[in-house]
Amino acid sequence: MEATTVVVAVSIATCGFAIVGGTVVPSLMEGRAVTTALEAMARQPGVADDIRTTLFVALAMLESCAIYALLICLVLLFANPLLAYIK
């Protein structure tokens, strides 16, 4: 098996695993954040605006971790820099 084939195959497999982990874990944690925020908003409607803003900031932070995983996968699949070193 050529080196290029091995590298590409491993990249594809890694991307699969990375996307699975990078989607499931942030989604679970974002769900927990939203649950707590909704309960707090139901308990204290007066500060609902503050809670909503904080919720959006927190969701953006969590989402950015998922985006990091996605970016690595996109780079590995479409613009793999390591293929240039095998020639």
């Binding site: 007066g46 605006d49 932070m61 985006i67």
Partner: protein, 249 residues
């Protein structure tokens, strides 16, 4: 990734110019024209467009005042421009044939670096160089390396969050155009619009929080009671002096 990646359109004085830069110029020209024309026609008997613009500016002022706990006018030029530019840039990416400027890594990186320098600028302007450096070493001098690393990571995460969201949306729509171009990309284009506006909002919020932390008051062990109003809007209230130290995230 042939034509979805930003590509060079023409060369200006020997420097290759990308299509994202051209779109940035278009955005700048558009908003400068809107601002110039609107400022000319402002009156005490507002027309319809003055109401819209004033509502937008007031919303931004309230948001900035709430997040930075300072009068909103201080940072309105910077943060308002950030929001308007990023929102327009993200939305233009959904139009066919145009590349969103924030889909090129350079634009979000430039914006994040601008926020980085603005945080230090506003902090030093508000507290002086010594006071600001003291605040960096606030809990203890041992935390200073973590604070510095935190600053770098905040800037990087701002950049990558914006870039990643926009590029991911573009790639998904491009792949769908390859597979089922008929009607399926439409919900994803709508999703891209939502994500574009949300990311502009989040970028502005985070920039405001960082500036507020740099400019904020000394931490004191005092009451942090805030008048919560169940009935009326306390949003127009002036900045509240809540003494609380926001650690660098």
């Amino acid at each position: 990734m042939g034509q979805i990646a930003p590509h060079v359109v023409f060369t200006l004085f020997g420097i290759p110019v990308r299509d994202t830069v051209v779109v940035t110029w278009v955005i700048m020209a558009f908003w400068m024209a809107v601002a110039g024309l609107a400022s000319r026609g402002i009156s005490l008997r507002p027309k319809w467009w003055q109401h819209i613009l004033e509502a937008g500016v007031q919303a931004l002022l309230n948001l900035i005042a709430k997040l930075t706990r300072q009068p909103g006018e201080k940072f309105l030029t910077f943060l308002g421009t950030l929001f308007i530019f990023i929102a327009t840039a993200n939305l233009l990416g959904t139009l066919p044939g145009l590349t969103s400027p924030t889909g090129d890594i350079n634009t979000p990186l430039a914006l994040a670096l601008t926020v980085f320098f603005a945080v230090h600028y506003y902090g030093i302007k508000e507290r002086g160089v010594r006071g600001y450096l003291q605040r960096l070493a606030e809990p203890s001098i041992v935390m200073l390396p973590m604070e510095l690393v935190g600053q770098v990571s905040r800037t990087l995460s701002l950049c990558l969050r914006l870039f990643g969201n926009i590029v991911a949306g573009g790639v998904i729509v491009a792949v769908l155009y390859l597979l089922i171009p008929l009607l399926i990309p439409i919900p994803l284009l709508a999703f891209n619009i939502l994500i574009g506006l949300l990311q502009a909002f989040v970028f502005t919020i985070l920039a405001a929080v960082y500036i507020g932390a740099a400019v904020g008051a000394e931490p004191k062990a005092e009451e942090t009671q805030k008048t919560s109003s169940i009935n009326g809007p306390a949003k127009q209230a002036p900045a509240l002096q809540r003494q609380r130290h926001i650690p660098a995230v």
